[in-house]
């Protein structure tokens, strides 16, 4: 994971509409953007003209009137007449069909030929495939117009020749495109699975590859059609394309050009038509490509707002925050104090709130773990604290204090400075957090230059020192290496080293060992523990692995559906948890002691969709203890006086008929209120 946007919805949530209609919805959504709508409208007009132009204006276009030859624009002839006195406006409209039709035909040839060439390597096997790819690569290197001229000469002068020429000339780039797309799909596991299932190469191509590359291919063909139109008018203009008495825009342009000094409209009109139609294809293609592709995500700070928003989302139940006399390790001034933190995203059906009123504190040097299923809001909580929530997302809180500084008020710059030196964040895959083109040492040194005002030498010295501190062997030499030269575990340590460039009081680590092996994982966890012990740095460790958290942390926050449902000492996690969800989560993870003769305990049902939070306790549909009250009233996170907090109406109770964890237990609600 990186600083990339965290989607508010859980990957495990079923998407309601099927894939096909989803694609349709995306295309429709494109038409709702201003550019998309404009381009779509223009394209429709052009296509309608192509179909109906000759029907309506053929007569006017062909009526010879020698008395009115070579006239300028007038009320009767909007853009004048040609040498035979034919109405030029009508002729431009009529020429739409031929111009567009031939361009589309040429595009079709290019696409079909390109597809054949591009997918041939999949069918032909290794050696022959490589040959085709090499040939395509060479063809792509030739300028398209040159190829078209070459083919025009080969195929002879005339419309047929020009269509073939432009089609052939366009094929290599489509071949390259479909090869790239198809190779990407052919690498996917479902294609491997189909091959293992005995599906032949041709069928794999037709059933699995083509449907999955269709969309980008169509988009590119649309853009390509604009190019083909220009190329075709070019050929006609040069006299290599459409021959008299037929005419397309290129021919009209050529005819008009001969009299351009007397009568510029004659050249202008077909020129405008070409530009408009070309633009229509291009813009539409681009708009769709942008709409269905990735919208560029911009990393930026979010505006922190104080207090709850007056919005349509019902205000979340406010947690009974830690009392001022909170004993335990969090005593004294906490490093981090979060009160009623929420994160809201605009969703298709109104606002979605994946984090709903989270409150907790972290004391100096304390290690706090956060566990929960995916989609429970763990990462988003961390991002909100680090002020890294992406734009449409909005963060609200009653209190958000880091080292006693209120992050809700005050200037963005001073906050950045504070976070830059005293706060460190470690992500799952540091490969994406490091710049791959710069040496590790430089990237670490930069932090010190920016935030501590060190000069280059000092900063580099500190970088090497920090790399040594995180036990990167041969730190001096390693500092001059690039990120890809580090192994996963070493990159992760370098990332922690980067956090230690300042004097952090809090390290937030989001699944720091998920991508690592157990032996390397242990090294990284040990390192975090050592850093904590040595410098009294507090740690917020997010993990889906209950065992890891239980081993490293003092205290554990259990999150479910965007809320903290239990806050308990880590030592009690395995045996004394009071919230039914905590117990289920712990039981569901096999450890080295599970009974091999019975099935693993499972949590029935599935996590809540953040867009559809039930009114009462979010865990009620899956909870073996749920009573009638649970489905209407959301329990607050209540402190038992020792700092142990639980949000459950039946905390600590044991389900009477339910053996904890034994397969799904159906509980009819209300039965055991």
């Amino acid at each position: 994971m990186t600083i990339a946007p965290v989607p508010p919805t859980d990957a495990d949530q079923p998407a309601a509409p099927s894939r096909r209609s989803a694609a349709g919805t995306r295309w429709l959504a494109v038409l709702r953007t201003p550019v998309g709508a404009g381009a779509g409208l223009l394209l429709t007009v052009v296509l309608l003209l192509a179909v109906f132009g000759p029907v309506f204006w053929s007569d006017a276009a062909d009526t010879v009137d020698t008395t009115a030859a070579m006239q300028g624009a007038s009320g009767e002839h909007w853009v004048g007449t040609d040498a035979l006195g034919r109405d030029l406006f009508a002729r431009v409209l009529v020429a739409t069909r031929l111009s567009i039709g031939l361009a589309l035909l040429a595009t079709l040839i290019a696409v079909v030929l390109g597809l054949l060439l591009g997918t041939a390597p999949l069918l032909l096997g290794r050696r022959a495939g490589r040959l085709v790819t090499a040939a395509v690569d060479i063809a792509v290197a030739f300028p398209g117009l040159l190829l078209a001229l070459f083919f025009a000469v080969v195929f002879g002068v005339g419309a047929t020749g020009a269509v073939l020429a432009i089609g052939f000339a366009g094929a290599p780039s489509f071949a390259r495109l479909s090869h790239t797309l198809a190779a990407g799909i052919a690498d996917r596991d479902f294609v491997s699975a189909a091959r293992i299932a005995g599906v032949g190469r041709v069928r794999v191509l037709v059933r699995h590859v083509l449907p999955n590359i269709g969309e980008p291919l169509v988009v590119n063909a649309t853009i390509g059609a604009g190019g083909a139109l220009l190329a075709f008018t070019g050929l006609s203009f040069l006299g290599l394309g459409v021959q008299a008495p037929s005419y397309d825009w290129g021919r009209l342009l050529q005819d008009g050009l001969s009299g351009i000094y007397i009568h510029p409209e004659a050249a202008l009109a077909p020129g405008v038509a070409i530009v408009v139609a070309g633009l229509a294809f291009n813009l539409f293609g681009e708009a769709v490509a942008k709409g269905i592709g990735l919208t560029a995500a911009v990393n930026g700070a979010y505006p922190v707002r104080s207090g709850p928003r007056a919005d349509t989302v019902p205000a979340p139940v406010t947690d009974d925050g830690t009392p001022a006399t909170d004993p335990g390790p969090a005593a004294g001034r906490p490093v981090l104090d979060v009160q009623d933190l929420s994160v809201t995203f605009p969703g298709p059906g109104g606002l979605v709130r994946p984090v709903r009123g989270v409150s907790f504190r972290i004391g100096r040097g304390e290690a706090v773990g956060v566990v929960g299923e995916s989609g429970s809001g763990k990462s988003l909580t961390a991002l909100a604290i680090a002020r890294l929530v992406e734009q449409p997302g909005e963060v609200t809180a009653d209190r958000l204090e880091f080292q006693g500084t209120d992050l809700l008020t005050g200037s963005e710059r001073s906050h950045r400075r504070l976070l830059g030196t005293a706060f460190a964040m470690v992500f799952q895959d540091p490969m994406t957090s490091f710049n791959p083109t710069r040496r590790i040492g430089r990237q670490l040194a930069e932090v010190a230059e920016e935030h501590q005002g060190m000069n280059r030498r000092q900063a580099m010295g500190r970088a090497v020192d920090r790399l040594r501190a995180v036990r990167v062997p041969a730190a001096e030499r390693r500092a001059h290496q690039y990120p890809h030269e580090f192994s996963g575990g070493m990159r992760q340590r370098a990332m922690i080293g980067m956090g230690l460039m300042g004097e952090p009081t809090l390290i937030v680590a989001d699944e720091p060992t998920t991508a690592l092996d157990v032996t390397v994982q242990r090294q990284v966890l040990d390192l975090l523990a050592a850093v904590r012990a040595a410098d009294g740095v507090a740690l917020l460790l997010i993990s889906h692995d209950v065992a890891v958290v239980g081993q490293v942390c003092d205290r554990v926050l259990v999150m479910y559906a965007g809320r903290v449902v239990e806050d308990l000492p880590a030592a009690e996690l395995g045996t004394a948890a009071r919230h039914p969800y905590t117990r289920a989560l712990v039981a569901a993870v096999p450890d080295m002691h599970v009974d091999l003769d019975s099935p693993l305990p499972v949590i029935p049902g599935r996590p809540v969709d953040p867009a559809h939070q039930p009114p009462g306790c979010a865990y009620a549909p899956r909870c073996p203890l749920a009573s009638a009250r649970c489905t209407v009233e959301d329990p607050a996170l209540a402190d038992d006086g020792t700092g142990w907090r639980v949000a459950c109406w039946h905390a600590g109770e044991v389900a009477d008929l339910a053996v904890p964890g034994a397969a799904p237990v159906a509980v009819s609600l209300g039965e055991r209120a």
Binding site: S192, A197, N212, V518, D526, D591, M592, H593
Partner: protein, 325 residues
């Protein structure tokens, strides 16, 4: 069901100069009806071995035998089927799950029979047959993995290879898939090669455990014996590193007996495997700690100890850590 045997199998990637041997002379047998758990760190060659078994990766040496016969990859479903790690990429997003499963049903089945077979398989993996028309996008990760299992079983395989099939799943779903795998394996008696980096998961499903390090199998034996009495130092390190909430370790203290050289040692580069025993740069009982054990640097150990352990000093030492009490 059948026995799958890797006989001196090697797989090399890349061309001559930049070639690397991902699987190096591996011999391993998956007995009839057994589940062999394959563990080892990332990049040790587990997936490569799996892909070789189903014919997705060509061998550069050795043979893979099914009941003593070389596997034929003709037309029709292959006798060794595979379930992939990522259920989000192993199902075609444009196909209904019924179509995906039907694809693996052997040819020559009428369409009505095919439909009945798909329904039976969905039922077998505890999914509602009425959902055959659903697209993968409508299913959760755990449900998709069930579909992938159903597709593998549709081919009526002799052996199933499962490569990290729970590691892309949420903890709450992992258990349901593991339960299903165990149930199916017991009901159908399928031979399985079950790959995972998670020892607790392997312990739960496997009857035998094989440990892989840098392309070599370094230990192989009955699951409970390998876990209770690991012979190879790498296996012991793996077991010691398993996080264990029930028996929380105190946070790392300086009193760690292993020298920091060992603790901080990096996984070796598979492009340039160390000479002699491949584990020697990290081994806590090897030449790093016992300088007189020079033989580890120069001579590759053979696997003729208990649990087929490839270590010069395996029997010479009492087991270090007994994890199961």
């Amino acid at each position: 069901m059948s026995e799958l045997r890797f006989d001196d199998v090697s797989v090399r990637y890349g061309s001559r100069r930049r070639a690397m041997t991902a699987v190096d002379r591996v011999s391993l047998t998956v007995p009839d009806g057994a589940v062999v758990g394959l563990v080892g760190e990332s990049g040790s060659g587990k997936s490569t071995l799996a892909r070789a078994a189903v014919g997705l990766t060509p061998l550069s040496g050795g043979r893979i035998l099914l009941d003593g016969e070389p596997i034929r990859h003709g037309s029709g479903p292959r006798p060794v089927q595979m379930v992939f790690q990522d259920p989000y990429s192993s199902l075609d997003p444009r196909m209904t799950i019924g179509e995906s499963i039907a694809e693996a049903v052997p040819r020559g089945t009428g369409s009505a029979d095919r439909r009945r077979e798909v329904a039976r398989l969905l039922e077998l993996v505890e999914l509602d047959p009425a959902r055959a028309g659903a697209h993968p996008g409508q299913l959760s990760g755990g449900q998709r993995q069930r579909v992938a299992l159903a597709r593998a079983l549709a081919a009526r395989p002799a052996v199933v290879v499962a490569d990290e099939i729970t590691s892309a799943l949420d903890v709450s779903i992992q258990g349901t898939v593991l339960n299903l795998v165990r149930r199916l394996q017991r009901e159908l008696g399928t031979s399985m090669l079950f790959i995972s980096h998670n020892l607790a998961v392997v312990r739960y499903v496997a009857s035998e455990i094989a440990v892989m390090y840098l392309g070599r199998i370094v230990e192989h034996g009955p699951a409970e014996q390998v876990l209770a009495d690991p012979q190879h130092p790498y296996t012991r390190d793996l077991l010691a590193a398993v996080p264990d909430s029930a028996h929380a370790r105190p946070a790392a203290t300086a009193a760690d007996p292993a020298p920091t050289a060992v603790a901080a040692a990096e996984p070796a580069d598979p492009h340039a495997p160390p000479p002699g025993c491949r584990y020697h740069p990290r081994c806590p009982v090897g030449p790093l700690v016992h300088p007189e054990r020079e033989v580890c640097r120069t001579t590759e150990p053979t696997a003729d100890h208990r649990h087929a352990t490839a270590c010069h000093f395996a029997p010479a030492r009492a087991p270090l850590a007994r994890l199961t009490d």
